[in-house]
Symmetry: C2
Subunit: 211 residues, 2 copies
């Protein structure tokens, strides 16, 4: 048993490296560019390695998609473990978003964009991505709880969460398109706060007596 | 000369039909699924027809991308030729966005999503898409002009336009992902208005004396 453990660990390490190369290939060459051979070259491993670990292209795509979700969750954890400034409750969310504005984060963002349509067709991949979405929604709700302590209006909280996450989704897509407008987490945090306040204002106008 | 005219018209018609089939293939099978053979089958034309009109895959992708931009511009024209209710100035923009929430509009939306990374690599395609973006920005600016007549603060108008179009981009991406939260143009118009107002409020706080 013991003699197998290191090999298994090596195998997992190798899979992870191949998936990371797959993210880079997706980001640079799009979904069509993701082939076993291209991942071999990008990971600088012998031809056939990627095929050995992931027999089919569907298996490769699914593994790369799950790796994207895994990195997303790690990023979420690393951002949220820093203390939050209660006067700027959307800072975590803004930092998390703009992690993906350049470098490896932008690559991750582009790969996720390429995977989106595929995710709608693969329930197993959809499940991995749902986890990330749920954690992001939780983070938005935590931020809102800091912004307006004690608010128990579920409908309002839903509308605000929805607006804030939609705006962030828009930022992600614009970053993929090469837009460089968004680069200041402090400013983005203030915009998210303003949007949450605007939705509260609109909600009060629509239902003035707490309806 | 005259005898050639109908043939040329037929050729253009045929190209358009092939591009429309290409949009459907992109939306259903993703960028990797877009092959000449798949477009032939989707358009129900003899094998080899798509290759005859678009020799390479790059030519096919570019033609499909330009067709997406052409339909986008036609949709923009058809929405904006209806009279605008000055009390709900974002209605046109909201209608235009939610045109793409189902049916052929959702297909267009999904195809555009698949083309985005490709667009960043093809300057000719980027030019076609820039036209659509510019017209959408104009529409957002017109809506803002109705919301706050006489505002000449260029920095504020830019920030508002940016926020409104980012939110719309987020809606587009969520529709691609299968989200069905957004389906009421009136509600979306009110949200866009609230966001524009929030950005104005934040702008005033940041620069209270017209700085």
């Amino acid at each position: 048993m013991d003699t197998h453990a290191p090999r298994k660990r090596d195998g997992e390490q190798r899979r992870r490296e191949l998936c990371d190369a797959g993210i880079q290939v997706l980001a640079e060459h799009g979904s069509r560019g993701l082939t076993h051979g291209q991942v071999d070259r990008c990971a600088d491993v012998p031809e056939g390695t990627t095929s050995y670990y992931f027999r089919t292209r569907a298996a490769l795509l699914r593994a790369v998609g799950k790796r994207v979700a895994e990195i997303d969750l790690a990023n979420l954890r690393s951002v949220t473990e820093r203390p939050l400034d209660p006067r700027a409750p959307f800072t975590h969310l803004a930092q998390l978003t703009l992690l993906q504005s350049r470098g490896p984060g932008l690559m991750l963002n582009r790969a996720r964009h390429e995977l989106l349509l595929h995710t709608t067709r693969d329930p197993e991949l959809a499940e991995a991505s749902t986890k990330v979405v749920s954690r992001t929604i939780e983070l938005a709700r935590d931020s809102l709880a800091h912004l307006q302590p004690g608010t128990a209006d579920a409908e309002l909280l839903n509308a605000q969460t929805n607006a804030v996450t939609t705006f962030i989704t828009g930022v992600f897509t614009r970053l993929v398109a090469g837009d460089q407008t968004f680069n200041d987490p402090g400013q983005l945090a203030r915009q998210l706060e303003a949007i949450a306040a605007a939705i509260a204002q609109e909600h009060r106008t629509a239902a003035p007596e707490g309806g």
